[in-house]
Subunit: 164 residues, 2 copies
Amino acid sequence: MESKTKRLIAIRKILETDKINNQDALQKKLKEFGFYYTQATLSRDLKFLKVAKIADVIGEYRLVLPEFINKTEGVRVEKNIPLDKITSMEFSGNIVVIRTFPGYANGVASTLDSYNFYEIVGSVAGDDTLMLVLREGSSRLDFVNRLITKEPNLKEIIPVVKNY
Amino acid sequence: MESKTKRLIAIRKILETDKINNQDALQKKLKEFGFYYTQATLSRDLKFLKVAKIADVIGEYRLVLPEFINKTEGVRVEKNIPLDKITSMEFSGNIVVIRTFPGYANGVASTLDSYNFYEIVGSVAGDDTLMLVLREGSSRLDFVNRLITKEPNLKEIIPVVKNY
DNA sequence: GGAATAAATGAATAAATATACTTACTTATG
DNA sequence: CATAAGTAAGTATATTTATTCATTTATTCC
């Protein structure tokens, strides 16, 4: 049917502009545009369109078109600067301060970013220093363990850390 | 709890390597790793981790970590208020970690700087991440409230915050 | 045009997922 | 220390979503 395509387009348009949190809401919205279909059809449509239902930052579910999903990171196509540019690592509070050879902080930061460690909320880098913010609930040891599995030769640089 | 973090990490690891198509399968897989939890808990975990359930190319559903979702096409329509470049905001300790679209962190930081919020001691920005240091005595809520009065549309991005 | 085949859809239902409510336990606070 | 406040997680259930099955509607190919 021609109207199927129309409906799919309408769905995409709706999901682009409105916050729709389930198929029921979508069905109602479609009605406003003159599309009368059952939930079953919408389920099939969403499967076809690869729409995802994801919780957003405020903890509400939303139907999201695939291209609108926030890739946080990890997809950055920068060559991985080896972590052996790191010269030291220290902790203070929930901050990890990492020193590198001059000029390498950004490279190291983006390498670490690309690993997308759950324990790290975010990072910023200057010239020879970068900082990571540890996630609340994640311990230094959690982070260190994770790091070592990725880059075992860092062991010498990583300070002895207690689990807090 | 410590074990919650461990479980979250395990979930992420499993979803990275295996094809998991529903919470039931995830629950079974977790058992192999010694994690015994109910479906309800996994539902909460997936919400927290922003895992999506999407149909893949062969029409099977899969649980997918946010950063693994393929952006196929289409570009998000960005408005030109600088703060609309913000994609997420998280807190850890006295640090606010703000993510932006690539390249916009500095712009956003200087916009925020220009507001001269009392609650913010200072900021640093990288490429797509900036950090604000909260003033001692100022709560997250203080900051969030202040921010919302400036930029109400940020509400969607700002996490639910308790007053500490 | 009409039989054969495929596609689209709804109704009913199965399956999967989210959540209200409760309990145990941990962490702050006076 | 005691009480409050917060967090984690299970149970039971409500809600949401996917699918099976039947029917209708379109498409293909003589």
